[in-house]
Structure formats: structure tokens, C-alpha cells
Symmetry: C2
Subunit: 298 residues, 2 copies
């Protein structure tokens, strides 16, 4: 990424971090009755890459948006964190570490983690509707965002992906199954993130679709690189034990294709992502983001 775009990117991340840290909905005292909210905040502030809200902010700018939509962009991180908290739980992946820190259930107990995930799954809808009731976005926009977000994370989206992940553990699966699983588990929410930005900017439906296509391809590339890093990364780079997919008999792109072919496939998806938007004025950052994500080491 160019120095200039890297600055924009890190400003976006800083903005989202600040919004999350200061979110009025998550204000809490040290009172024990606040521990669910404290756990939500802990999960949110554990150092994510903020890719989803950044996609929202950048597509918003790409399609001409000029307002501060950071609170709505943060909703995408809330949903992502909800899925991570529940995914890490003992009955799911049973991961006690996440990004180098104890995962939420390890830090707060499984009961609080369950409720914290639930709270973060509902809060985005509270925030989106509050923005509409306060006149910051139109009710039509709020309905579209609500629809995109609930579909992307629900039974036919992210939850379906987690389900496919569960049922395929220890089974032989083919590349098409992996693509479907990844599209659901990771892709849908990335698509919604890009669509959020485009919708908030009032983009045409065909441009919303382009944003979604970019994100779908980015998501595939992202997941493939994740799988590769689980094999070749180091624990300190990843913040979690490497080889954890293998230990749990997870099917990964790295397994099914081998490292080299998996990496080639990731590059092809990155190229397809870039192809969707490269002719748009101002799309350099998003193009570079796609290229950088395929080269990342963590």
C-alpha cells in the first residue's frame, strides 16, 4: 500500500477503534451486573483488523459519501465479534486464545460469553434503527442495512457457514464444498460490509453489486490465506497456536490444494476482486488492500 493510503487505512482503523471504545451502548461501571457488557467490550477491543468497518468506510467514500457513518460501520465489527465469541466457545472450536489474549469465555466464563455474543448480535439493529429515528439516515436506508446484515449473518449466511464447518470436521470434502463454506462463513459478512458503504452513499444497485463482488472475492482470498498461515505462520505472528485447524481435523484450502496451489488460487481471487473496481476513480486503496491481504503474515 502506498504511504498515503496506509495513512488513510490506519486513520479508518483508529476512527473505528475510537467509536467502539466510546460507544454509549457499551458504557459500563465495574458493577457485576455489567459483566456481559464488559465481556462484549473485551471481545471488541481484543485487537481485530477492523477489515469489515474499513470496507464500509472506504466504499462509502468511493461512492461519494461525505458524512460520518462510523457508528454504523462499527456495527459490522460487532456482528463479526459476536461470531468470534460464539465460535471460540467450548461446544464450538474450543479456542481459549484469540489474538494473543484469552478468548471471551476463557476470561469471563462460558455463560457470560454466550450472553455477550447474543448482546453483540442484537446491538447493531438497535444502532441502525436509532440512527434512523434520529434522522441521521433515512428509514429506507435503515431497512436495507437491516436486511443485508440479518441475511448475511443469519441462517443462510454466516450461521450456515459455521454449520458447514461443524459437519465437515474430520470428513473428506472437495474444493467446491470449501468454497461454499468460506463464502458463507466469511464472505457474506464482508459482502454486507462493502454493500453497507455503497448503500449509505446512495450508490446505484449495480454499484452495490460491484462492491459485493469485490468483497466476495476478497473474502475467498482472505480465507485461503488464513488457512495457509495456519500451516506456515508462527504462533507469535498469529496470536494463536498454529496448526490448530489440523488438530481439530478441519478441512482447509491448504490441505485440499497444497500450499502452492492454494496461494495461486488466493491470488486469482484477489485479481478478480481488484477487477471489479479498478476502473472506479479513487479505488486505489481498496485495490491495494486486496493485494496486501493476500501477502499478509498475520
Amino acid at each position: 500500500m502506498t504511504e498515503q493510503n496506509l495513512k488513510v487505512f490506519s486513520d479508518d482503523v483508529a476512527l473505528i477503534n475510537s467509536v467502539i471504545e466510546n460507544l454509549g451502548y457499551l458504557k459500563c461501571t465495574s458493577d457485576r451486573s455489567n459483566s456481559v457488557i464488559a465481556a462484549e467490550k473485551y471481545g471488541l477491543c481484543a485487537g481485530g483488523k477492523r477489515i469489515r468497518p474499513v470496507l464500509c468506510l472506504e466504499f462509502y467514500k468511493l461512492f461519494g459519501g461525505k458524512e460520518d457513518i462510523s457508528e454504523i460501520a462499527a456495527c459490522l465489527e460487532l456482528i463479526h465479534t459476536f461470531s468470534l465469541i460464539h465460535d471460540d466457545m467450548p461446544e464450538m472450536d474450543n479456542d481459549s486464545m484469540r489474538r494473543g489474549k484469552p478468548s471471551v469465555h476463557a476470561a469471563y466464563g462460558a455463560d457470560i460469553a454466550l450472553l455477550a455474543g447474543d448482546g453483540l448480535s442484537l446491538l447493531p439493529f438497535e444502532i441502525i434503527s436509532a440512527n434512523a429515528l434520529a434522522g441521521k439516515i433515512s428509514c429506507e436506508t435503515a431497512v436495507k442495512l437491516t436486511s443485508y446484515l440479518s441475511c448475511a449473518s443469519g441462517n443462510m449466511g454466516m450461521i450456515m457457514g459455521q454449520m458447514l464447518d461443524i459437519i465437515s470436521e474430520g470428513q473428506d470434502v472437495d474444493i467446491e464444498f470449501l468454497k461454499e463454506m468460506s463464502a458463507k462463513k466469511t464472505g457474506c459478512l464482508l459482502m454486507a460490509s462493502a454493500a453497507f458503504g455503497a448503500i449509505l452513499a446512495g450508490a446505484e444497485q449495480c454499484d452495490v453489486k460491484r462492491a459485493e463482488e469485490y468483497a466476495a472475492n476478497l473474502g475467498m482470498s482472505f480465507q485461503i490465506v488464513d488457512d495457509i498461515l495456519d500451516v506456515i505462520g508462527t504462533e507469535s505472528e498469529l496470536g494463536k497456536p498454529i496448526g490448530s485447524d489440523k488438530i481439530r481435523n478441519k478441512n482447509t484450502f491448504a490441505d485440499v490444494l497444497g500450499i502452492d496451489k492454494a496461494y495461486e488460487l488466493a491470488q486469482r481471487y484477489t485479481e478478480s476482486a481488484v477487477a471489479q473496481i479498478k476502473d472506479l476513480n479513487g479505488s486505489q486503496l481498496l485495490c491495494e488492500l486486496a493485494s496486501d491481504l493476500v501477502k499478509r503474515r498475520m
Copy 2:
């Protein structure tokens, strides 16, 4: 309840049952990739009283609504079922039976139950926004419903109630604490249910408030009677082991007040509920429902 109102009530329940059974969002084949949806349907069809959607339908009619809003009314049962599925889980109440049948995690495993609860927490927002996008309700109405539902079930509503329940287990609490816990855990969603009906009918804000007040009082009475039945009910009437609150060191109105005083308090809440609406033409069914709930044996 008069014979005539009993007929209306059971027609409402039958309508909601039929909507839930035929909900397109929950169509599933026997494919294993559908087991989350199958688990959601199992939880939904385990024989609930459908009080929440009935409140929605009846307040809608009370304030002059004439359309079929049953799909939106069913959303309240979806959220209620989500909370029951997660509440029953091993890390929460660890109840392996619910309404005389294995609870969702006992029947499908804790991983699927976790995802099924998640799916049911998101689906209502998909349904509400789809109804708005299809022009069946206005976007303004959809935003209000989304706001009421997410607030009622979120961090400051139902989830806060579950949190208070967890932290108070085995502790000495007073009657004010129990009232707050019950208001959050049960009351908020009942209030949203009544508000849904009023909002969908286009009622004035003061009438939405009356509907909510009725439901808040009904909720307190309902919870107190629940606590009493856990002491004096029979297992076959309740469909779950009696005395389960005692075994888990739960604080209940029956414990803190004794059976007789708890029953008196329930009756006072019922009277307050009725007082909110009894001067409204056509409110007999809702008045009788409140009286009947305090007399119920299951």
C-alpha cells in the same frame, strides 16, 4: 375467559402455529447442513403458549388493525425461543427438558443449539425488513419495530435480565431486585410484543405506552405465578421437573415473599394490567387473558 374470547384466543394461537410451521425462512430438507434450521424449528414447535405473538395480534386488533400481520407477530416467538434455547444450555440453566421434551441442546447437541439460538435472534430482523421491502409495512414502522425488538431483547433488556439471574444465584436478594430482574428478563419482550401490535395498527404514542404498561404488569404477574408453580405445581402439568429453581439456588418471588404474599402481589399486578386498558372498547379478551394467566396451573 368467555367461550367466545377463548375461541378468538385459540384461533390466534392456531394462526401463529401455522405461520411458524410454514415459515419459508425455516424450510429445510433432511440434509445435515440443515440441522441448525431443523433445531430452530424443533425449539419453535415444542408447544409454547404463544403469549407474545397473541399480545401483538390482540393489541393490533384493539387499535383497529385489519391486515394479516401474523408473520411479524411470530417474530416475537422467534426471539422468545432464541432466549429459551440459550437459557437451557449447559453453561446457563443446564435444563435438559423443556415443555416435556428434550431441550434443543439435548436433542441436537450444544454446538447446534448455540447456532440455532443465534439464527433465531437474527431472523426477526430479516423478516421485519423483508416485510418493509415488500411494501407490506412502511419503512418507518419497520424501523420502530426493529428498535423496540432489539432494545427489548438486548443488553439493557432480556440479556440484562439473564445476567441478573446468573449473578444472583445462591445470593440473598430483596424484592426490588427480583422485580428488576423479572422486568428485564420477561417484561421487556412482553412490552415489545404489545407495542408491536399498537405500532403496526398505527396507534398514538400514548396508546403504545398503555399497551406497554399492560404488558409490563402482565409480565410481573406471569413471572410470580411461574415461581409459585415451580413450588406447588406438578411435573406433568409443567412439563419440567418441579422444584428446579430451588435446586439451582435461584431466587424467586415464592421464596422471598412466601406463596400467599406472592400470589397477592401477582393479583395486584394483574389488576394494574387490566386497569390500563379496561376502558378501551374491545379490550375484554386482553383483560380476561391477564386474569386467566394469574389462575393458570401450567
